[in-house]
Amino acid sequence: MIDHDHESDLVFRALNDATRRAVLALLASEHEPTAGDIAAAFPAIGRTAVSAHLRILRDAQLVSEIRDGKHRRYRLGPNRADAAIAFLRQIYEQSLPTDQETAADRPESGLREAKSG
């Protein structure tokens, strides 16, 4: 596979999760919500899990945290361009067929597997 530095690897992993992508979409549409606002938008997930997602996004520098009195607010950045490129890479990577799909598409190899299994 392709070599990439540690930081872009963090970005890539952070984005490889539908909830974290939804959190980013929320931050793109709302102005600096608090951790409580974000948790409220994902009632099925639970506050602790949302905090864990936010930490992963923060480590990848996809979101930053701002202290506002006793609240913590979140906004996108500073790594927005990296995030967009990581999304693109993920999309193109997943567009290639996998070895398993290819094997399943070959009737004769499917038979061989059935026999050996």
Binding site: A28, D99, T102
Partner: protein, 486 residues
């Protein structure tokens, strides 16, 4: 040009020729966004479904785009050009290695792709000022969504017009600059982006090649702000000019008045089934199609309107068969039209039923290949027109955009005519003001790719209409008729 390069590799446990043959085959493993095409050869149009990280304006999680095969070396290498929703180039190589094949893709993309990765539609063009000395004109079109397959050719035609206008010295000594807006086949997105661009750039005019749903939403903004708006796509034709708004495109009556009786004569059939998408233009086609068919002794035996973007037609095909129709009038648009005609062809219905699809043009037909063969259309331009003006136009178009660029069509070439007419009117008016350019449009004539066109005193475009039949590789012109005969 392409600023982002992505490299992906995978190992497949099959020899290179098998891996290669899987590409583009329906029913096989998903290869490059389930790319589908009729024949794996240079020039073949492919449709692709790209997954999105964020849901689109209609809640969709994938975006349907178009690509084109530009190079094919069997078992070694395939090169695809992305056309929509963003542009780029994908090179796929196949190399034998122990236990199978190493498949490597090198994807080169421009910045447009990034806009899709950040959620929300965002602005149509990057931040910053345009060149201060240029007249900015927006091309409002669709590069994604169900009408997205028209946008690339429309953008090419607009760019060619701008190049020619600027080679003649621009307008009043200022060059014209085209800004392309993708409405994503979504009226509110079109309006938001147009408004935002007008605020930042101060638009001289808008040329529109998009659905009438977008027109209905955007027209109130143009009317209120006095922006010159040339809607050049086929339209209902209900009201031609309204202040600085012009519906220059062919009307439903222009398209159907002669084509409906011609198809009845040609086939001997009289029973029509009407199928279309559920918005203003297809509804007008159904209403007027019924009136014209009945006037000529025909009858309507079934009618169905499906949502814009509908891709499943099994029950419609059953309904058509049960209706006893021998003729079909289809006002399906874009991808809906392609999905319908593919299924219609696969079901073997083409042998018994003749279809008139007034919006089947080159962008749509190129995805159908043999599946579209035998469908009739009626439009003011086909790239097959055998005239000196059209041959010159196509030569310039191919020189600028390459041999495999999407062929211009009545819909997409109308952007060229719209811009040439705007430039001529703005020069005549000697002013960039929308109301003054509007007045100057009346009585203008232009000898262009589709022949001689003129803007009447009522703001309506006078032009010739052509009746054509799709073949597996293009259109065969079957007849010509003057417009405004209905």
């Amino acid at each position: 040009m392409h600023e982002i390069v992505l490299v992906n590799e995978t190992h497949l446990g099959v020899p290179p020729h098998e891996a290669f043959d899987m590409f583009g085959r329906s029913g096989g493993p998903g290869w490059l966004f389930s790319a589908r095409f009729e024949h794996a050869e240079p020039g073949a149009a492919a449709d692709i479904d790209i997954p999105l990280p964020f849901a689109g304006p209609g809640g969709e999680t994938t975006v349907r785009g178009t690509a084109r095969i530009v190079e094919m070396r069997p078992y070694r290498r395939i090169v695809l050009r992305h056309e929509t929703p963003w542009t780029g180039r994908i090179t796929i190589t196949f190399a034998r290695e122990p236990g199978g094949t190493r498949v490597r893709t090198v994807t080169e993309l421009d910045q447009e792709a990034l806009g899709w990765m950040t959620g929300g539609p965002g602005p149509a063009v990057p931040d910053g000022e345009g060149p201060a000395d240029a007249t900015c004109v927006a091309l409002l079109t669709s590069l994604s969504g169900s009408a997205g397959l028209f946008g690339r050719a429309a953008a090419n035609c607009a760019a060619l017009a701008a190049e020619e206008i600027n080679a003649e010295g621009g307008i009043g000594g200022r060059p014209v600059r085209i800004e392309v807006i993708d409405d994503r086949t979504h009226a509110a997105t079109g309006l938001a982006r147009l408004r935002e661009l007008d605020r930042r750039r101060g638009l001289g005019a808008v040329v529109g090649v998009h659905s009438s749903a977008t027109f209905d939403t955007v027209s109130s903004y143009a009317r209120a702000s006095g922006l010159l708006y040339l809607y050049t796509a086929a339209n209902e034709g209900s009201r031609v000019q309204d202040g600085t708004l012009f519906r220059l495109g062919e009307s439903v009556a222009d398209q159907l008045a002669q084509a409906v009786p011609a198809l009845m004569r040609e086939s001997g059939g009289r029973s029509w089934y009407l199928i279309g998408n559920d918005y203003s233009w297809p509804r007008a086609v159904s209403t007027q199609g019924r009136r014209i068919a009945e006037h000529h002794g025909g009858q309507v035996v079934g009618e169905r309107l499906v949502r814009l973007g509908e891709s499943s037609f099994d029950d419609v095909l059953e309904d058509i068969e049960a209706s006893g129709a021998d003729l079909v009038l289809s006002s399906l648009v874009g991808w809906s039209s392609i999905d319908f005609e593919r299924r219609f062809h696969a079901a073997g219905l083409r042998r018994r039923l003749r279809t008139l699809a007034p919006l089947l043009e080159e962008s749509t037909r190129e995805h159908l290949g043999a599946a579209g063969s035998g469908v009739w259309s009626c439009l003011p331009y086909f790239s097959a027109l055998d005239t000196t003006e059209n041959a010159d136009f196509l030569r310039r178009y191919r020189a600028a955009f390459g041999p495999w660029a999407p062929s211009p069509s009545a819909l997409t070439e109308s952007a060229y005519e719209g811009l040439r007419l705007f430039a001529r009117a703005a020069r005549k008016a000697g002013s960039p003001r929308g109301d003054e350019v509007s007045r100057a449009l009346h009585g203008l004539t232009l000898a262009g790719p589709r022949g001689r066109v003129s803007v009447g005193a009522d703001g309506r475009l006078r032009q010739r209409m052509y009746l054509a039949e799709a073949t597996a590789t293009g259109f065969a012109i079957r007849g010509q008729l003057p417009s405004g005969t209905a």
